[in-house]
């Protein structure tokens, strides 16, 4: 399932279509602790977070994530869109809670 399709499943609004928008997502990491995100050694990862800061995008770029979805409908600072464009990182925002987003993403990636 691609990043774009996952965004649809999570009813997310895609604010920046980066390089990973049509890439397949194989792993989902949900965290507000960027140090934890940096510990993950998974490829093709989607980052779900309720943290709305530029550092989320920089961290996602360092670990090679395909995209970032900020959950809980948090308003994003305008700088995030600018940074996402600079890094060519896909950025979306969803009104789902982090738990709901995790459940929906899991169901979508692991169909019964």
């Amino acid at each position: 399932m691609t990043m774009s399709e996952i965004a649809d499943v999570l009813k997310a609004e895609v604010l920046v279509k980066g390089e990973g928008i049509h890439k397949g997502v194989r792993h989902v990491m949900a965290s507000d602790l960027m140090s934890d995100v940096l510990l993950v050694d998974e490829d093709d990862m989607l980052l779900l977070t309720s943290l709305a800061s530029d550092q989320v995008l920089r961290t996602a770029q360092i670990v090679g994530a395909v995209g970032v979805i900020v959950v809980n409908g948090k308003p994003l600072p305008s700088s995030m869109v600018n940074v996402a464009n600079d890094l060519r990182m896909t950025l979306a925002t969803s009104r789902l809670s982090k738990y709901e987003a995790c459940v929906a993403a899991h169901a979508a990636l692991n169909p019964a």
Partner: protein, 317 residues
């Protein structure tokens, strides 16, 4: 009577941004790293409260200065400026004691504020000088724009020499024998707007050079964690990296405040980060642990009160 100093509240250490975003990083780092005490004139010319305005005027003429602090035993009472002298001349009070005619409502700076803060206040208040007090509210210096220009020229010259002597870029293509890149990035304390940019640049360059993705990830993670550490825990420092002889070496060096217990700092989950840092997603105490995890060699040296140097080496051959 004593001066009524208006000290700025919590220093906003972020310098004024150039709308075009073209500030040289070296200059930004300098005005963050340098403190007011590094730049101010500490050898003060002062007068006591009992001195007459005429004596103050004569002293200002002799020393070629445009203002003189009124001070006794380190206690700061006010400042006699050219304006005060002119007013006294017009009013015929030039023979009276300066404690009656000095300016007492003053904006002052504290000696441990970053230079960026002083620059902002010169811009905001248009005064020619600011008295400098220490934490005990004792007068320890005076700062004018000439002091700042002189200090920045000296520091920039020093920085230029250092960069010229150390920077070698894009030499050779053979990762086992020659240097690919040696670069240094100044990192400012609490500058979260820019934190991570150095690691992002390193990663992009490694991708352009087509290094293996796993190696790129390890180098990028080490560089990013060390960069964030400099931003969060140090008073500012330098992140440098180079690739030579089949090794990537990333070094984070700062001048303070140092770590009291290095072994403790390298343990999982130990951190001195405050709530604000944690709210930004960092400060979980995993930074150094993570750098160690991705490194083939890891070294840290630190001394409380001085600086810390962390070196991460990743084999790429």
């Amino acid at each position: 009577m004593s001066a009524t100093p208006e000290t700025p509240g919590v220093p906003d250490v972020k310098p004024e941004a150039d709308p075009a975003g073209n500030e040289p990083l070296v200059l930004l780092e300098l005005i963050q790293r340098l403190k007011v005490r590094d730049v101010m004139t500490a050898q003060l010319v002062t007068v006591p409260r009992s001195a007459t305005m005429l004596q103050a005027q004569e002293l200002m003429r002799q020393k070629k200065i445009s203002g003189v602090p009124v001070e006794e035993n380190g206690r700061f009472f006010g400042l006699v400026s050219i304006d005060d002298i002119i007013r006294a001349l017009v009013a015929g009070t030039i023979g009276e004691v300066c404690s009656r005619h000095m300016t007492t409502k003053l904006v002052v700076l504290e000696d441990d504020m970053p230079l960026s803060f002083a620059l902002r206040y010169f811009d905001r208040y248009h005064y020619g000088r600011f008295p400098v007090l220490n934490r005990d509210q004792r007068l320890v210096g005076i700062i004018c724009q000439r002091d700042i220009n002189r200090a920045l020229l000296v520091e920039l010259t020093r920085e230029l020499r250092r960069l010229e002597s150390s920077s070698v870029q894009n030499v050779g293509q053979d990762g086992t024998t020659s240097i690919y890149v040696l670069r240094e990035f100044p990192i400012c304390k609490y500058d979260f707007e820019n934190a991570g940019k150095a690691a992002n640049q390193i990663k992009q360059l490694l991708q352009e050079k087509k290094f293996p993705p796993k190696i790129i990830r390890r180098i990028a993670v080490a560089a990013y964690e060390l960069e964030i550490n400099l931003c969060v825990h140090s008073d500012g420092g330098v992140l440098s990296w180079q690739i030579s002889n089949g090794r990537a070496e990333i070094v984070a060096r700062d001048a303070g405040p140092g770590i009291e217990d290095v072994a403790w700092a390298c343990r999982d989950g130990t951190s001195t980060a405050n709530e604000w840092i944690r709210s930004l997603g960092f400060g979980a105490g995993m930074g150094l642990v993570n750098v160690k995890r991705v490194s083939d060699e890891f070294e840290i040296t630190s001394k409380k009160g001085s600086g810390t140097t962390v070196k991460s080496v990743i084999n790429i051959a």
